[in-house]
């Protein structure tokens, strides 16, 4: 039974338990919604159904069974890949997600890149003279970036560019990377910029704090004492180790972006997975919402698990703990 106590086994077990909880919460959440599948698919006509028709429809949708039975039926469906069907477009949720997910992943990867490109150098800059004006200035800009909501930044940017320069690539229909790489990348510029700016502050702070902490470590002093050149000391000894917490932060942000890019996807009309939830909510397509939310949360849990495992590999200290 020793392997049960192994940190990795425990971490994986925790993730599985979380996923079970996630599925229960998602199921309960969408059962609280006023109305059920019958009113959802028949709309106002549901009121004209005879009691017998309602009963047979309830049997058809499994609504006459007890809640736990309904939950396990739903879970069995989900686990076998049956995520439900959109009642307005008659396309399966699996298919919808298959189309939306690549766009969201593209958006997330590009935004993370921009966030790292902004955050890490600025963090290094801030840590190079802690407490001095360059540190204060970067801290201030990081605070500003944190305080401007992304929907506001997005709206201001989009309307400013459209009003003054007549440039608004997202006004045309969305093109995927495969359909039209040139236009796709143009359409990605604004949302990636907005999301990148919102990711940069936590990356900046993590980099700065880590560098300051590591600079005070004994091994850095030892390395300096034995004459390691300053440049090599800064890169190989300090920055390399400081990037370990940044990896964790990046993983966390990536998970967020997979489902948290709601606002950017909505404003810039990127047909991603966040927009799928919003569309489902406005069209009262609760099966779509339920499955999509479940998919997003599952990805989030898995990305976090992966980040944790990667962290153990990059940081030898974590393996001992």
């Amino acid at each position: 039974m020793m392997y049960l106590r192994h940190p990795i086994t425990r971490r994986v077990g925790e993730a599985v338990l979380t996923l079970v909880g996630v599925s229960v919460l998602t199921f309960v959440l969408l059962r609280v919604v006023p109305g059920n599948q019958i009113t959802a698919s028949y709309g106002t006509a549901a009121g004209e159904l005879s009691p017998e028709q309602v009963r047979s429809l309830e049997a058809y949708y499994g609504l006459d069974k007890s809640l736990p039975v309904q939950y396990f039926d739903w879970l069995r469906g989900v686990l076998t890949g049956n995520l439900g069907v959109s009642t307005t477009s008659h396309v399966s949720v699996a298919q919808l997600t298959g189309q939306a997910l690549p766009n969201t992943i593209e958006l997330a990867v590009l935004s993370i890149l921009v966030g790292l490109l902004l955050g890490v150098p600025l963090g290094v800059l801030a840590a190079s003279r802690p407490g001095k004006s360059r540190d204060n200035l970067t801290q201030l800009s990081s605070l500003l970036a944190l305080s401007v909501p992304s929907f506001l930044l997005a709206t201001v940017l989009a309307s400013w560019l459209a009003n003054n320069f007549g440039w608004y690539p997202n006004g045309e229909g969305f093109r995927t990377l495969v359909q039209d790489p040139g236009l796709n990348l143009q359409q990605m510029i604004l949302p990636v910029l907005v999301l990148g700016i919102s990711i940069a502050p936590p990356v900046l702070q993590t980099t700065r704090t880590a560098i300051l902490a590591i600079r005070a470590e004994d091994y850095v002093r030892t390395a300096r004492a034995k004459g390691v050149p300053e440049r090599r000391l800064q890169t190989r000894h300090i920055l390399r180790n400081a990037l370990i917490p940044v990896v964790t932060m990046t993983g966390l942000q990536f998970g967020f972006l997979l489902g948290g890019a709601l606002v950017a996807e909505q404003i810039f009309a990127i047909p991603g997975i966040g927009r799928q939830v919003l569309l489902g909510l406005t069209q009262k397509e609760y099966a779509v919402v339920q499955s999509t939310v479940l998919i997003i949360a599952t990805m989030f849990v898995l990305v976090n698990l992966l980040t944790d495992l990667v962290y153990r590999v990059v940081d030898p200290k974590a393996r001992v703990r």
Binding site: S147, G259, G260, L262, V289, F300
Partner: protein, 298 residues
């Protein structure tokens, strides 16, 4: 009870109390803290105007003859497409943001802290259950969870507050659990139980008061996130329902009219940023002042 309390409190509390007071004050002596206080006072004054009905116009009053007027005399911040006074709506929107933020953060702080403290203090099964609940809530990106909750409930300011409270509850549970783990084995806590105090009263007498600093910082920062979340929800159409003014909803309305009436976008946007920056500055300076690690260096 009183004898035991006095016995416990006599040696260190007087010194501790003055030191603590000084630490609190230090937060408001830094430039960041002062700016934070000024910004928050400004926000409060503007928000209170609508609470006491002192806005120049009724925030919901439509006057089509006056629609899309530029800022100037009569309408300080201009008017929107229905001729509603933007200043009055910004004031009412700020009041709405603050109300939702305060209610949701208060609920999240109380429920989350109780969960975290119980888990950390009693450990065992309680801790496991609290752990699963926090993990599950953390498994959803925050805006998505708030959105899903807000969309399933009947829309009004209270349900929006509840949705935001549920999203921020696990943060408080985690923030509270950590220090309890170290505090529960601190000498003075062990001493308190050793002289016969129950674990429960020790918790209230000695463990919770020592977490005040951490909680205050977390509450201040959470207020700014709650304002942002409410605004995002309203922007997406799942927050405070119209005709009530909400800053996020105002930004949404301004989108299509930004070329003819940029003030519709400008003023609610600035109000939002000022409120969030004010709270962030306050939270950051409180953290710097109350965190023993950074505090000693200053």
């Amino acid at each position: 009870m009183s004898a035991a309390t006095e016995l416990n409190n006599v040696p260190d509390v007087p010194i501790d109390a003055t030191r603590r007071k000084r630490a609190w004050l230090a937060a408001f002596r830094t430039p960041a803290g002062i700016i934070g206080v000024i910004l928050m006072l400004l926000v409060l004054v503007v928000a209170l105007l609508s609470l006491f009905g002192l806005t120049p116009y009724d925030p919901a009053h439509q006057n089509v003859a006056d629609s899309l007027k530029a800022p100037g005399s009569g309408h300080l911040f201009g008017t929107d497409q229905f001729g509603r006074d933007i200043f009055s709506r910004v004031s009412s929107g700020l009041a709405n943001s603050l109300r939702i933020a305060i209610v949701s953060v208060a609920a999240a702080a109380i429920a989350g802290t109780v969960l975290g403290v119980l888990g950390g203090y009693y450990q065992g099964v309680v801790d496991r259950i609290v752990g699963v609940v926090t993990n599950v809530l953390f498994a959803f990106p925050s805006l998505l969870l708030a959105l899903a909750l807000a969309a399933t409930l009947k829309r009004n300011w209270l349900t929006v507050s509840i949705s935001i409270a549920i999203v921020y509850l696990p943060i408080f549970a985690r923030v509270a659990r950590g220090p309890v783990l170290t505090l529960r084995t601190a000498d003075y806590v062990l001493a308190s139980t050793a002289i016969g105090r129950s674990r429960f009263s020790t918790l209230f007498e000695h463990v919770l008061p020592n977490m005040r600093g951490i909680l205050v910082v977390q509450i201040t920062l959470s207020l700014s996130w709650a304002i942002l979340t409410e605004a995002s929800l309203s922007f997406l159409g799942f927050g405070t329902p119209p005709p009530a003014a909400s800053l996020g909803g105002m930004v949404y309305d301004a989108q299509t009219l930004s070329s003819v009436a940029p003030w519709m976008l400008l003023f609610p946007g600035i109000a939002l940023i000022v409120a969030v920056i004010g709270l962030n500055l306050l939270g950051d300076s409180l953290r710097a002042a109350l965190d023993p690690r950074t505090g000693s260096r200053r």
